[in-house]
């Protein structure tokens, strides 16, 4: 197909991302399949423990589960049938709760997306502005403070940070509920915990980007053209700083998922990260594959968003 029929946006962003999505689906399917098959411990026992809890799990329950689920299916046919199901968008049923995986994921996935988006937006409100201010005056007091604070935030694991926020904002001031999901106020503390972790790094990226832009020839030319410092920053600084920040956002999503799992279990948030960890413990294979696939596709979608934002911000990318 020659290129000029397909609009450039689709050709350079959408198509490669679609290819990546298919790649992720295949990789997740095969990887989780091989890994789960090679996990130690008898699947039937693990599923029985997942279903009935540590008080009720015993050999009788495990044998019943083995009969019920027919776990003796040879490996390759199982993989083949899973891939075929995926094409038909049939994710199968969770071995633990028996509910269709897709229904469980939709509920839990919604909670995680809600939490992740709130965290990312919040981090963009905290990190980059502080980073830009520090970059405008390198070596100033804000720059030094930012270095120490961002190192501090990066070293605090999410659960310690989360706990501090609960103690401070929920117990002492009583502004927000300590945990749980439902009303908007529940979103505040988990999102803030994640956001501070992300902001610590995006502030550094913003600072370095601002440093580079402020020392660039076009910034100096802006001044000698007669523009005030504020005008130079608004017209030439903002956009050129935004490009590296948004590009870095794509990389940051890798660390977001770790934070999400911890924050979800600390704040009793019914998210997908939390569900994935339980699924792996309980060897709930369809749930693992479904969750991993959806999280993988979430990544691909988020990265596509980042790509489109980059194209909008930096016309050079569009013309490449």
């Amino acid at each position: 197909m020659s290129n000029h029929f397909i609009p450039p946006v689709v050709r350079t962003v959408i198509l490669p991302r679609l290819a990546q999505a298919v790649m992720v689906a295949l990789l997740v399917g095969v990887l989780t399949f091989i890994l789960v098959r090679s996990l130690p411990g008898d699947m039937a026992y693990r599923i029985a423990a997942g279903r009935y809890g540590y008080d009720m799990v015993d050999t009788a329950a495990a044998d019943a589960v083995r009969r019920e689920l027919g776990l003796e299916q040879p490996a390759l046919t199982a993989l083949g049938s899973w891939l075929w199901d995926i094409l038909r968008l049939d994710f199968g049923n969770s071995l633990i709760s028996g509910a269709p995986v897709i229904k469980e994921i939709v509920h839990q996935f919604g909670a995680t997306v809600e939490l992740s988006l709130a965290a990312v937006l919040l981090s963009l409100l905290i990190g980059p502005p502080l980073g830009v201010l520090a970059g405008l005056r390198p070596g100033g007091w804000l720059d030094r403070v930012l270095l120490v604070v961002s190192s501090g935030l990066r070293s605090l694991p999410a659960f310690v940070l989360g706990l501090l926020l609960i103690i401070l904002l929920a117990r002492e001031f009583g502004w927000f509920p300590a945990a749980g999901h439902g009303s908007a106020s529940n979103l505040a503390l988990p999102a803030l915990t994640l956001a501070l972790g992300l902001a610590a790094v995006s502030a550094r990226v913003a600072r370095d980007a601002m440093l580079g832009v402020a020392q660039s020839p076009y910034y100096a030319f802006g001044r000698t053209k007669g523009l005030s410092e504020r005008q130079v920053f608004a017209r030439h600084g903002m956009r050129n700083v935004a490009v590296p920040i948004v590009t870095y956002l794509g990389v940051q999503f890798v660390y977001l998922i770790e934070g999400v799992v911890v924050v979800e279990s600390l704040f009793a948030w019914p998210g997908i990260g939390h569900a994935l960890v339980h699924a792996i413990f309980a060897r709930d294979v369809p749930m693992i594959q479904g969750t991993a696939l959806v999280m993988g596709l979430m990544f691909v979608v988020l990265n596509t968003g980042v790509d489109l934002a980059c194209r909008w911000l930096d016309p050079r990318v569009a013309r490449a």
Partner: protein, 274 residues
């Protein structure tokens, strides 16, 4: 004589800026604490005394006791040795393939480049945590498995960085000149590419190590990570979390250790730190 003789050798912004000196000093102090303490202090990281659980620091035990009455000083130095060693391991297991593939992709270009990049993107899209969880579930009882699991995600940063640098270099006249002079690819990597990449290995390594430890802490929190009683910074944070009210000093020690580690690596990495 020609008018434009070289200017006297003006020191290019010296490598040893004050920021970097503080960073190296801090890192040296941490490493010294980790490796010297066993000789100076003979406490064992696993001997318990259930009588003085969560005891406050005393002269005998400068860092106090943990929730099973074990010496925090012994555990902290052992944990730092393990964490530093394994963080280093995870950075190496990420750096070596990352850089090698980065150079290969940039050098060959075309299909090899597109293929490796697609795999890297797919790996990036895969939730890193899933890889690590799976990897640990198989290998079960080995802290090193955790760190290698984490490097499965870390190598991508190295790959992308190396690829972009090498791609610019491969087209540069310097490399063309060396090839014309008869030098082979190995020489070009050693003399042209490696010097440009080395400082970045430090920067990415610094943050790789920090995120490795943070990942272990997260995994231990969902009771997957390192197996007790191994002294490891991430696991200690999780174990001491419930006692945040009774013995904040115990919980803060691993957190402060990681903070100093990240701060020192940040300072060393210098201005282009991430």
């Amino acid at each position: 004589m020609a008018a434009d003789l070289s200017l006297p050798l003006v020191a290019e912004r010296s490598f040893w800026s004050t920021q970097r000196i503080i960073g190296v000093a801090l890192l040296a102090a941490i490493v010294a604490f980790a490796f010297v303490t066993p000789f100076v202090f003979d406490g064992s990281p696993t001997r318990q005394s259930l009588r003085n659980v969560l005891g406050a620091p005393t002269v005998l035990e400068p860092l106090g006791y943990d929730h099973l009455g074990r010496s925090m000083l012994a555990r902290m130095s052992a944990a730092l040795r393990l964490s530093l060693g394994l963080a280093f391991l995870s950075v190496i297991t990420a750096a070596v393939p990352g850089i090698a593939l980065g150079i290969l992709a940039a050098w060959k270009g075309g299909w090899t480049d597109r293929l490796i990049s697609l795999v890297a993107d797919a790996f990036l899209a895969l939730p890193g945590l899933l890889l690590v969880l799976m990897f640990i579930a198989i290998v079960q009882d080995a802290p090193w498995a955790l760190y290698v699991g984490i490097s499965l995600v870390l190598w991508i940063e190295y790959f992308r960085l190396t690829r972009s640098i090498t791609r610019a270099l491969v087209l540069s006249p310097a490399v063309q000149a060396s090839q014309l002079l008869g030098f082979g690819p190995l020489y070009i990597v050693r003399r042209h590419i490696w010097p440009e990449i080395a400082p970045l290995v430090l920067t990415v390594g610094a943050f790789g190590a920090a995120s490795a430890i943070a990942a272990i802490a997260a995994l231990s929190f969902v009771s997957v990570g390192v197996r007790p009683p191994t002294p490891e910074l991430g696991l200690m944070m999780t174990e001491l979390l419930p006692y945040y009210h009774e013995a904040p000093h115990a919980l803060l020690q691993p957190v402060v250790a990681v903070f100093l580690l990240i701060l020192s690596l940040n300072l060393i990495a210098g201005s282009n730190s991430r």
